[in-house]
Symmetry: C2
Subunit: 249 residues, 2 copies
Amino acid sequence: MKNNTKVNAAILIIGNEILSGRTQDTNTTTLAKWLNSIGVVVNEVRVIPDIEKTIVETLNILRKSNSYVFTTGGIGPTHDDITAESVSKAFGVKYEIHKEAFEILKSYYKQGEFNEGRQKMVWMPKNAKLILNPTSGAPGFSVDNVFCLPGVPSILKSMLGGLKNKIVGGEPILSHTINLKTVESEIANSLTKVQNQNGDVEIGSYPFFHAGKLGVSIVIRSEKQSKIDVCNSQILKFVKEKNIEIVDR
Amino acid sequence: MKNNTKVNAAILIIGNEILSGRTQDTNTTTLAKWLNSIGVVVNEVRVIPDIEKTIVETLNILRKSNSYVFTTGGIGPTHDDITAESVSKAFGVKYEIHKEAFEILKSYYKQGEFNEGRQKMVWMPKNAKLILNPTSGAPGFSVDNVFCLPGVPSILKSMLGGLKNKIVGGEPILSHTINLKTVESEIANSLTKVQNQNGDVEIGSYPFFHAGKLGVSIVIRSEKQSKIDVCNSQILKFVKEKNIEIVDR
């Protein structure tokens, strides 16, 4: 698999709550599904703490080695929300009030409610472009190839629609799954042969234990449906020879 | 917060299925909770694809900058299970049959069932130490400060008990949560003051939307209960002054 030649992205999850195990991250799955659907391969995910130096350093590595970087978390009103200031430092630009964001939040809140805490959310890197937030007002933002989204999953999801025309993906990555009533070791050798004959297709094998059923999902991924079809036939051939049952999950 | 001075760990999730969004990782949460409970701070998590070069390079960075590294995934019998061979290369040691693992699996499987696919699972870095697997036979292993666990969450969980006396943690990280019926911006300034007065305590603020309730969880974390208590009192003081309701989640 040669991920690096494609339009690719890194996801940077910022938040102590994930590293402590308190919060189960689901934003990775949301972003990864969406990115794959628009032809962007996710190269890597990193989860890091709310430490400015770590955010700055990690961002500067990831933004240079990926077409896009998506950060989640740390853009709220409290003291532990340091993503916007860290992004400013990573790019070496001023951290300042974003006028358009200010106007958006000023009209979003009732008179008197746009307090100092909320005003923190309009401080952004200079010349940041806004990512509108249809759920709760406070926008995300992008600088160059870095897109900063909130940590709350439902709000993040609602903002992806507005991002679509800002991300230029490659060919969408197609996938096909075959679920088998077997164990991995029964098919390992045959599957290796199929993989060896189709080096540019990504074939994954994943055991599952689901609702009392035990089996293996074989996932075939490629930008080309024709390549998926070739692998699929080769796999179905050995599945039939081995008398393995194909199942729903 | 100075994570780096403590006993710390990195978690390395190996698997294309997480990066494609097909599979929701839960092993990070499992490992992070367990590590925090035994006094190991999780510094970072990385999710990387099943690419040998990436695994080798990432592992060599993480094992030098952390007390421990825990990998998940890629130790099964199929072609995409390349963790053991990659770990061998990262350490520059031979990738060979582990005799003890061989004996374990030979007696685990019925006669004739310990086939070539399954025998792949006993190939490990030379002198690897086994991590026993009470669920499905095939052991994980460790080399130096790197501990390699399977990707299937239920199996991974069942193996943590056997790891306990191999990991030397620091003081357990204690935490206390206060759930408030408020929004973050109402408490942001007061909370910043408490954080500034207690620089060595980690105070996180997390909005929640749960079962129709909307609120903020404040999480106070430290090795010292006394420091948590001090922060707790200071927070409860401003909560009372602001007439904010404390709620269950």
